[in-house]
C-alpha cells in the first residue's frame, strides 16, 4: 500500500532576526513528516504570473494546515495596509484552516500594556502612536494578534483561536512537538474540518 501524500503545512512568520529559528522550526516539522511551505526557506509554490502577496495568499488558501508565528516585528513586506504575514493569517482564518498559533511573550505583554491606549472598547484603533522602541516595532502586530484570535467576535463563538505564548525557541518547539508530532492525528483533524 502506498503511503498517503504528505500534509501541506504552511508556516508563516516575519523573518527579520528570526532566520535561524525559522529554519529550525521548518526542519522539525519536515522531520515530523509534513511538506513544509515557507517563504524564507523557498518552499512556497510560486505562480510566476502572480504578485508575491497573491502567491502567499494562494498558499494559505491551498495548504492543509497552517502555523502562524506572531512576533513583535511586523514585517517589511507591507502591501497596502497590512503586511504579507498579516494577510496570510487573515486568509487562513477566513478559510477556516486547521491552524495553530505561537505568540511571542513580548507581544502578549505589549498588548496588556498598550490596550487601554491603543484600542477603543469596540476593538478599533485610537489615534495613539507608538514611538520607536526595542520591544514592539508596530502596533499592527497587535491587530494581527487580534485577527488570529478573532478578537472581533464574542469569545463563546470563537473557534480555532488558541494562541500559545512562547518566550524562546525551546518553548516554541515543545509546543510544536506536543501538537504536531502525531501527523496521523492531524490528518484526521484536517479531514474532519474539511467536512461541511
Amino acid at each position: 500500500m502506498s503511503s498517503p501524500r504528505k500534509l501541506k503545512l504552511m508556516v508563516t512568520s516575519t523573518v527579520y532576526h528570526f532566520e535561524d529559528q525559522l529554519k529550525q522550526i521548518c526542519a522539525v516539522l519536515a522531520g515530523f513528516g509534513y511538506e513544509v511551505w515557507n517563504s524564507h526557506i523557498g518552499t512556497i509554490p510560486v505562480h510566476p504570473g502572480r504578485s508575491n502577496l497573491k502567491n502567499c495568499i494562494a498558499a494559505a488558501h491551498d495548504c492543509d494546515l497552517f502555523l502562524g508565528i506572531i512576533r513583535p516585528v511586523y514585517g517589511s513586506g507591507k502591501v497596502g495596509k497590512r503586511s504579507i504575514t498579516h494577510e496570510e493569517v487573515r486568509e487562513a482564518v477566513r478559510r477556516k484552516k486547521p491552524r495553530w498559533f505561537l505568540v511571542h511573550r513580548d507581544v502578549m505583554c505589549a498588548r496588556q500594556l498598550l490596550k487601554p491606549y491603543a484600542f477603543k472598547s469596540d476593538g478599533t484603533r485610537t489615534k495613539f502612536k507608538l514611538k520607536k522602541n526595542p520591544v514592539l516595532d508596530d502596533l499592527r502586530v497587535l491587530e494581527l494578534y487580534h485577527d488570529a484570535i478573532q478578537n472581533n467576535i464574542s469569545p463563546s463563538r470563537r473557534k480555532g483561536h488558541w494562541a500559545q505564548e512562547y518566550s524562546d525557541l525551546p518553548e516554541a518547539l515543545r509546543y510544536l512537538d506536543s501538537q504536531l508530532k502525531d501527523a496521523r492525528r492531524i490528518r484526521r483533524i484536517c479531514q474532519e474540518m474539511k467536512k461541511p
Partner: protein
Amino acid sequence: MKLEDFQEVIAKGESKNVEFKTGGVPPEVIAKSVCAFLNSGGGRILIGVGDKGQVVGVKDAGVTTRRLQQRLPHLISPRALWTVEHMQVDKRDIVIVEVPEGMDKPYVAGGAIYLRSGKDAVPASRDKISALIQKGTGTSQRWERQMAIGADRVDLDEKLIRETVRMAVKSKRWQGSSNNTDAFLHGLGLIANGGVTNAALILFGKRPSQLLPQARIRLLVMPKGKTGNRYALDKSFDSCLLRVADEISATLSLHAGGVESRFSAEHWQRDDRQIYPMTALREGVMNALVHRDYSSSGSITISILPDSLQISNPGGLPEGLKPADLKRDHPSVPRNPDIAHVCFLRGFIEKVGRGTQRIVEDCREARLHDPKWQSSSLETILTFFTPASGFAQTLVEDLNDRQQKILAAIQEHKPLSANDVAKLLGGEVTDRTVRNDLQTLVNGQWLVRRGRGRSTLYVRPKKELK
C-alpha cells in the same frame, strides 16, 4: 591535533565521534556530518582518510580548509562554533573539522536535522527529533543567554563590537557586512527581544562588573606566599572580556616571576628568559574567562606566589572531563559557547579543545614542570610552577654523560641502588659524585627515591623521556 593523537584516532577507526572522508567531498556533505556531531555530542571529521583509516590525503588542503570555513556557516543553522585546520601526515595533507557538541539544538543542514547513528550521519526520525526537543526544553536557559537585567545596547562598547566584526570578516570567520553590528549580535544570540544578554555584557560591556560583579578579576602578588601578611599587589580588573585579556597579559608580564638567568659550562653567555611562558599564561587566563561558571558570584583570581602562579575560576570541569584529560587530546565542551564563539571570531581561540595541551607544551618548552589542574564542583585551579619550586625539570640533553648512562640503565633494568650506580659508572667516580648525580636526577624528576638508608633504590617515574 598532534601527530600521535591523529595516529591514535586513525587506529581506533570510525565511531560515533569520528568520521573519515576522502578528499573532494562537497561542503554540503561535510555540513551534514558537522550538523550530526553538533546534535549528538560532538566529534571530528578527518578529510583525506579512507573508510579503513588509510591516509590518502587531500589535494589543495589550504583551498579545502578555506572553502569549508567560508561555506559551512551558510549551510548550518543556527550558528555554532567549530574549527577547521589542516596538518601533514606522511607528506600528505589532512583537513580536520573539530566540532564540539552544540548547545542550541536542533541544528539543521540542508533543511533537515541530522544525528549520529554509529559511524554515520543520518536524518533524524520523528521520535528522535521529539527526544531532542524534550531534552533541550528540560534544561533551564543557560546563564550567558539570559537577558542582562538593567543593561541596554548603550551599555555595550560599540567601537569594540565594530572592531570585532571587522576582524571576524577579515579573517573570513564571519560572513556578513563589517558595518552591520546588529546582524552580528543577533546572529550570535547576543541581543534579543530588545535587550542584551549576559554574554554580550561580559564580552562587550563598557563596565560589566557594575551589573555583574562576578565579571571582576583579581590579581594578587604575594611575595611571602598565601600565609604571608602582605600583598605586593592587589589589583582588580573591571573591563569586558575582550579588553581584560590584554590588560591582564600586560600586568602579568610585569609581575609574573620576572626573569630567570642561566649559565652553562658550554655557553658562557647568559641566557635570560621569562620564567613563565607568556603564551601559556595568556591561554590559562583565556580558558578561565571563557569556560568559567558565570552563574556563580565568585571571581577569577590570579595569585602570583613565590614558587607558583595560580589561576582559579568558579566552576568545575564539564561532566566527564578529568584534570588529567586536559593534558591530552580531549573533546571540547564549552560551558559558554556564545562567549567562546566570539573569542574564536576575535582570534583569541584558534582551535577548539587544544588550549590546555598548548599550555603543557609551552611549559615543557620553557623547561618548567607540567602545570597542574585541580577541579572540584565549585572551582578549577590551574597552577604553574617556577623552577625554584623544586619541580625544575632539565631536558635530557642538559644531563651529563654519567647521568644519561644512569637513566638508560634504570630504564632498561630493575631499580638500582647507589652502589649499583657506582658499579655501573666503572668505579672511577667518587661516592660524592654518584650521590650528586642521583640527586640531580631526582630534582629533575627523572628518578624517584624508594626506601630509606642503605635500602634506598632509584626508579623511573611514570613519564616518558623528552
